[in-house]
Amino acid sequence: MRKRRRSETGPKIGLLLIGLYFLVPLVSTGAFSFWEGGNRYGLRAYIALVHEQQLWQSLGLSLRLAIETILVGLVILVPAVFWMNLRVQRLRALFDFVSVLPFVVPPIALVAGLTALYRGPSWFVGTANYLVVPYVILALPYTYRALEVGMRALDLRTLTEAAQSVGAGWLSIMFRVIVPNLSTALIGAALLTIAIVMGEFTFANILLFNTFAVYINYIGQTAATEAAALTLLSFLITWLAMLGVLLTGRGQVQIGGAR
């Protein structure tokens, strides 16, 4: 009996400690965001933020970049992963390897390479759109993994051949058969990309674009309580994205798929 009790309380204490480790900084940040000096607490920081034009601009920019990153990433990766799974499975190891490269190459090295290497039209290199290039690379491991899992769950060869046998061309196969059956994977990949792009600091800061993360950093240096409020806001965005990933992943069983 004694032994059993100990085995139950041990993990509970562990979980509690881990929970505290995550919660204490958040709660403190939250409390600080309401501080108005002295003993006064209120919503002043939040109200100030809402009226801050630059916040909305940077948030809008980051969301736009997230959407562009999702589109570019999926347009490149969906056909590539489809083709690899269908025709050249021997390249799987290479795909896996390439997909984890962004973990190995530090962003600072990547951004140095980008500034040195790229020459291009000013609408691209001269604007924030340029950030989509490193962001696609940054999101690659997550997008690739989500698509790979989604496609492996489908019997791609049989579905493709079944569609071909009744007369479907590649476009029909892609948009009527493959993509609709990957909806869970696609939503997962998109939400993970949003979470990454919303929080990305290094590239944007060095390339001098005022994205959401750069703005948080700037506010942190100029208005401390507003920075705390903003940090919580960015956490909220990331959490919502993660919650979305969890919920769509769970829905998979009910939506149905290849058995």
Partner: protein
């Protein structure tokens, strides 16, 4: 000239030769089964006909047109696969309409055709269900309807029943035959199950090591095998080594005694042969009965109406299987000494190399 013709087709995957010089012609409306063990090349041959594999040599012709280089989507052939192949994001009806939709057939016509086909495969009340809400048998019926929706010039079935349980398999194979006869669509059916092939085909093609071993009606394949592979693969058979003694009279020497075998007539004396006995042609009598081979009942397998007896021949001459009504077989317990015999025209005779 046939309606669907394969001529001189060869195919290798790397160093492995899968098909060598295969030629086959189907008449319009014919139901032909490709039967053979795993790795004999039957599925590869079907995939070449469908356009999913390209032959190294040879041609495929359909309705007088060569289609060897046509992509699968252009061949107007419906196919049902071994694995469940319905599109998971579409209902049964949407699956059936898919081929018409990509061909931009008028929506009313699509609906009408889907209704006809759902009725044909008996799934009208399941039209709105998704694949995961259907049983395996129902899924394969929808797959069949989807293949037929485009009014294919030929229907290709790649072991469509092998994932189903025994009872559904028998039901569905009969249904496939009925539907094929109603629609009169030229059909190739790939299977490794001889009972399936024999029960529903107009003709059966037995394949072995990338070649056609024998092509014929089910009765001919079973009753008159051309070679020892077909004899062994289709149905059970006892192979007894023998030698022709008198080709004019049809007398052969079997384990040192002379027996009559009508089918040995015309063969040269001294020809080494296999003396083949199908279980249902073997008669079992009391030991020492006139002219029979003596043996002992060594094993029994009960199949319901029939029981199969394995009879070990005396002097280590091998064994013979006899199939008999179960009530009769019940009198012959394991270890009973018996004598086996047969009608003169029962044994099939094949040359032995």
């Amino acid at each position: 000239m046939g309606y669907l013709e394969v001529e001189g087709v060869a195919k290798s995957f790397g160093p492995v030769k899968v098909l060598s010089d295969v030629s086959l012609a189907l008449e319009e409306g014919e139901f032909v089964s490709l039967l053979g063990p795993s790795g004999c090349g039957k599925t590869t041959l079907l995939r070449i006909v469908a356009g999913f594999e390209e032959p190294d040599r040879g041609t495929v012709r359909l309705a007088g047109t060569e289609i060897t280089a046509e992509p699968p989507a252009k061949r107007q052939m419906g196919m049902v696969f071994q694995a469940y192949s319905l599109f998971p994001n579409m209902t049964a009806e949407e699956n059936i309409r898919f081929g018409l939709k990509v061909r931009r057939v008028d929506a009313n016509e699509q609906a009408e055709r889907a209704r006809e086909l759902l009725e044909l495969v008996g799934l009208t009340q399941h039209r709105g269900k998704y694949p995961h809400q259907l049983s395996g048998g129902q899924q394969q019926r929808v797959a069949l309807a989807r293949a037929l929706a485009i009014r294919p010039l030929a229907l290709l079935l790649d072991e469509p029943l092998s994932a189903l349980d025994a009872k559904v398999r028998v039901q569905l194979r009969e249904e496939i035959r009925r539907i094929q006869q109603e629609t009169k669509v030229t059909t190739i059916f790939v299977t490794h199950d001889q009972e399936e092939a024999l029960s529903i085909s107009d003709r059966v093609v037995v394949m072995h090591q990338g070649q056609l071993s024998q092509v014929g009606t089910p009765a001919a394949i079973y009753g008159e095998p051309d070679n020892i592979f077909v004899a062994r693969f289709v149905g059970a058979v006892a192979e007894l080594p023998a030698e022709v003694v008198d080709g004019r009279e049809g007398i052969v020497a079997l384990f040192g005694r002379k027996v009559r075998a009508a089918r040995a007539q015309g063969m040269a004396a001294g020809t080494r042969i296999y003396f083949l006995l199908r279980p249902e042609t073997v008669r079992v009598g009391p030991e020492g009965a006139n002219g029979g081979l003596d043996g002992t009942v060594a094993g029994r397998t009960f199949f319901g109406a029939l029981t199969s007896l394995r009879i070990e021949l005396a002097d280590g001459h091998g064994s013979v299987t006899a199939a008999m009504p179960s009530d009769k077989a019940s009198e012959l317990a394991q270890g009973t000494r018996v004598s086996v015999s047969w009608a003169d025209d029962a044994p099939r005779i094949l040359r032995r190399e």
